[in-house]
Amino acid sequence: MTPLDVARAAGAAVLGIALAAGAAWAAPRSGIDYAGADVRAIQSDDAQNPGMLWVDRGRALWSDGPRPCASCHGDAASSMKGVAARHPAWSTAARRVVDLEDRINACRVERQQLPAFARESEDLNALTAFVATQSRGMPVAVDVTGLAQPAFERARDFYVARRGQMNLACASCHVDNAGKRLLAETISEGHGNGYPAYRLEWQAVGSLQRRLRACLFGIRASLPPEGADVLTELELYLAWRASGLTVEAPGVRR
C-alpha cells in the first residue's frame, strides 16, 4: 500500500465509514427540503418553474426532425416512464456506466444518425429534462450491483477522499455537516434527484455533472472534463445515496 492508499483508508475511516458499509443514516432528505421558501414555491408550481421552459423545448425536440425520438419511442409519458429513475446504469453496448445524457446521445448517433449534442448544450439539457420529467414522483432506484459495482466502488471512494486546495471530501460537507450553515446557506445532503435543475445561480437549467463540477470548483479541486467517467460514476453513487427520494426534475435550486 502506498502512503496515498493509507491516507485514503484513514480518510474513509474518519469520513463516513457507515457509507462504505452500506448506508446506515436516517432516511435521505432532498435538496428541496434545505432550500428557502421561495425556491420551494417556485419548484412546486409548473407555471413558475423556469425549468418547464426547458421541458417544453425538450418536448418539441422529441418530435422534431426526419427521424425523431418519437418515431421509435412514441409517447414519452409511457415509453420514458421510470427511465430517469434507474439511471445512471450499466450499458452493455458502451461497456461502462452511462447517464441519461449519454443514453440520449447514443440514440442520437446510432439510431438517428445525427451528431451528438454537446454536454451542457441547451438542447441536450432540454431533452434530458423532458425525459427525466417522465419519472417525476417516482423513487430513485439504480442498480449498483454486477457490472456496475466497480464503478460504484470507485465513486464511493472518491466521495470520501479529500481533495482540492481546501482539502475537503464530498462527505465533509454533505455527510458530516449537512444541515449546518455555510455563510447564509444551509448545507444539503448533496443528492441529485432534482437534476436536471434550474439553478438560480446559473439562470438556466443544468445537469448534475455541471453541479458536481461546480462543487469541485468550490473546493478548488481540478475539474474533470464534462462527460468524464469519474463524474458519471459519481452520479451513480449519488443516485444510490438518494435511494427512495423521488425524481423532482425539473428541480429548482439556489
Binding site: R29, D33, D38, A41, E201
Partner: protein, 162 residues
C-alpha cells in the same frame, strides 16, 4: 413565517405534506410595511427623483411583498399590490420599479391600457446586493402612490466557476 431554513422539523413536515402552491400563490414573507412610510423613506435614485418631478407620492395603499432575505440575488419573487377602491377616474395606469444599487435604476415598467381586474403584478427581480427598492404607481387622475422594501441579498457560499 420564518425564513430561517435551519428550523428543520418545520421543513420536514412541509415536505411530508407536499404543500403544493396552487394558483400562483406567493409565499408572502412580508406584506404591508410594518411602520408608516413617508417620502423620506424613498431610496436615493436619480431616475425615481426625475419621474416624481417634485410631486410627493402617498404611502399606505401600495405594497411590495418580497422576502426579507433573498435565496439568490438572481431571482427574488416580488408582488406589487395596491389596496383600496378605484372609483371612476382613479384607475391604476402604471407601475414603475426602481433600484438604487442595480447598475440600471429602472427595473421595470408596467402600463395598464385597460384597468387590471386585480391591482397586482407578480414577477421575479434581480438584485445586485442588499438594498431598498421602491415602486411608484400612478393612477388615472395623476395621483402617485409609493412603497419601499428592504431586501438582504447574500453571496453564494461556494464560488461556481462553471
Amino acid at each position: 413565517m420564518s425564513d430561517d431554513v435551519s428550523s428543520l422539523p418545520a421543513l420536514r413536515s412541509l415536505a411530508r405534506r407536499r404543500v403544493l402552491v396552487a394558483g400562483g400563490a406567493l409565499v408572502a414573507l412580508r406584506a404591508v410595511p410594518a411602520r408608516a412610510q413617508t417620502a423620506s423613506e424613498l431610496p436615493q435614485v436619480a431616475a425615481l427623483a426625475d419621474d416624481l418631478a417634485g410631486r410627493v407620492p402617498r404611502f399606505g395603499r401600495l405594497s411590495l411583498v418580497i422576502p426579507r432575505l433573498a435565496d439568490n440575488g438572481n431571482a427574488v419573487p416580488l408582488r406589487i399590490a395596491m389596496s383600496g377602491l378605484f372609483p371612476a377616474g382613479t384607475e391604476l395606469k402604471s407601475i414603475r420599479l426602481y433600484s438604487p444599487k442595480n447598475p440600471v435604476a429602472l427595473m421595470a415598467r408596467f402600463d395598464f391600457p385597460a384597468p387590471p381586474a386585480k391591482p397586482e403584478v407578480d414577477m421575479r427581480v434581480r438584485l445586485a446586493g442588499t438594498q431598498r427598492i421602491a415602486a411608484i404607481a400612478e393612477l388615472a387622475n395623476g395621483e402617485l402612490h409609493a412603497a419601499v422594501a428592504d431586501v438582504d441579498v447574500t453571496i453564494s457560499a461556494c464560488l461556481d466557476g462553471t
